[in-house]
């Protein structure tokens, strides 16, 4: 099995997707590709189905909230792994919190099901085409997405704590 290098994969992605890729950086030896959300599904499908790159395993899918990045407040991060070549890649994409829609990866990876539900539960990312997009870890009647930064971490139902001692 030929070893895959970051430089090689980087050039393949650049020639295949070109202007849809906004950034390609290497951090701690791992290639990180930032892709426009319109090409998000196509890029991951290509990374999985390309005979050489062949990232058949979805290691992780999660989200982050950057309230200061206007029109791209929500960040979705996907980690992929090519098991035989031990090659890992990180794919990032940004979407606006006003329109938090992304195609679901469940047609490609069965394992995306619960990870996407978790990202929906905590960040409100709506994965279109997901078979069962509802809360997974929080209580069933949770009516907001608690990891978004506009919500305080602390439980708001407590009266016995004096705010000034807790920095709020």
């Amino acid at each position: 099995m030929a070893t895959l290098t970051n430089e090689y994969v980087q050039s393949r992605i650049a020639s295949q997707f070109g202007d849809k890729i906004t950034e390609q950086v290497e951090s701690y030896g791992m290639l990180t590709v930032t892709v426009h959300h319109e090409a998000y599904f196509d890029l991951i499908k290509w990374l999985k189905e390309d005979a050489e790159i062949n990232c058949m395993f979805l290691t992780d899918l999660t989200a982050a909230h950057y309230p200061d990045r206007k029109e791209e407040e929500l960040n979705v991060v996907v980690h992929l792994h090519n098991l035989p070549a031990n090659f890992r890649i990180r794919v990032k994409t940004y979407i606006a919190s006003a329109h938090p829609h992304l195609p679901s990866l469940t047609p490609l990876y069965k394992g995306a099901n619960w990870m996407e539900r978790e990202s929906f539960d905590f960040f409100g990312v709506k994965f279109t085409g997901h078979p069962k997009l509802k809360t997974i870890l929080n209580v069933d009647d949770m009516d907001y997405h608690p990891m978004l930064k506009q919500y305080p971490m602390e439980d708001q139902t407590r009266e016995d704590k004096d705010n000034k001692y807790f920095g709020r």
């Binding site: 608690p146 919500y151 439980d155 139902t157 407590r158």
Partner: protein
């Protein structure tokens, strides 16, 4: 000779061949020294409880060696550890399945008040879903403290009216939690 101490007999009028006391006291004595605890251990306080049950601290000395893992046979619900909001209805269900008379002890900061977990997902004290008789502070409390909590429960059990569940105060307390 061993120095085994047995429970002290209640105050009584004694004569040759008889001993006269009130039924309340006898039943209270029997109940207090044969409490069946139901451990509801969710985190580190549960580990301290395991030490409490073990040979070194030996909760059996207080008549509580028989743990009941069925709530229907338990007298004392011992809640040890962080209760997430998702666990709240489960805890309440366990409490509802217990038969009267029943007591509840909240062991540790998390069960008593949510502790350091002042966050959207954690119940801020189990007294938000079920009534609590004794709170044991500590994070986690030492086995001595847990034993002290059990002894405070014994004090309650000993002095409690046999008809506690018929008292208006008790009914009002349960109604406050929406329990019939």
């Amino acid at each position: 000779m061993s120095d085994i101490k047995i429970a002290e007999a209640p105050v009584s009028i004694d004569g040759p061949g008889f001993s006269l006391t009130s039924l309340d006291k006898v039943v209270g004595l029997a109940r207090a020294n044969s409490i069946w605890p139901l451990p509801f251990a969710t985190s580190c306080c549960g580990i301290e409880f395991m030490a409490t049950m073990g040979a070194n601290y030996d909760l059996a000395r207080f008549g509580s060696e028989r743990l009941s893992f069925s709530p229907r046979q338990a007298d004392l619900l011992m809640v040890m550890g962080t209760i997430a909001k998702k666990m709240g209805p489960v805890l309440r269900q366990v409490y509802l399945q217990m038969a009267e008379p029943r007591w509840v002890i909240a062991v540790g900061a998390c069960a008593s008040s949510g502790g350091i977990f002042d966050t959207y997902s954690v119940l801020q004290g189990i007294d938000r879903v079920i009534p609590v008789d004794v709170y044991v502070p500590g994070c986690p409390p030492r086995p001595e403290q847990i034993i002290d909590g059990v002894m405070r429960i014994q004090d309650l059990v000993k002095t409690e009216s046999l008809r506690r569940r018929n008292e208006p105060e008790y009914k009002q307390l349960l109604a406050g939690y929406g329990i019939q």
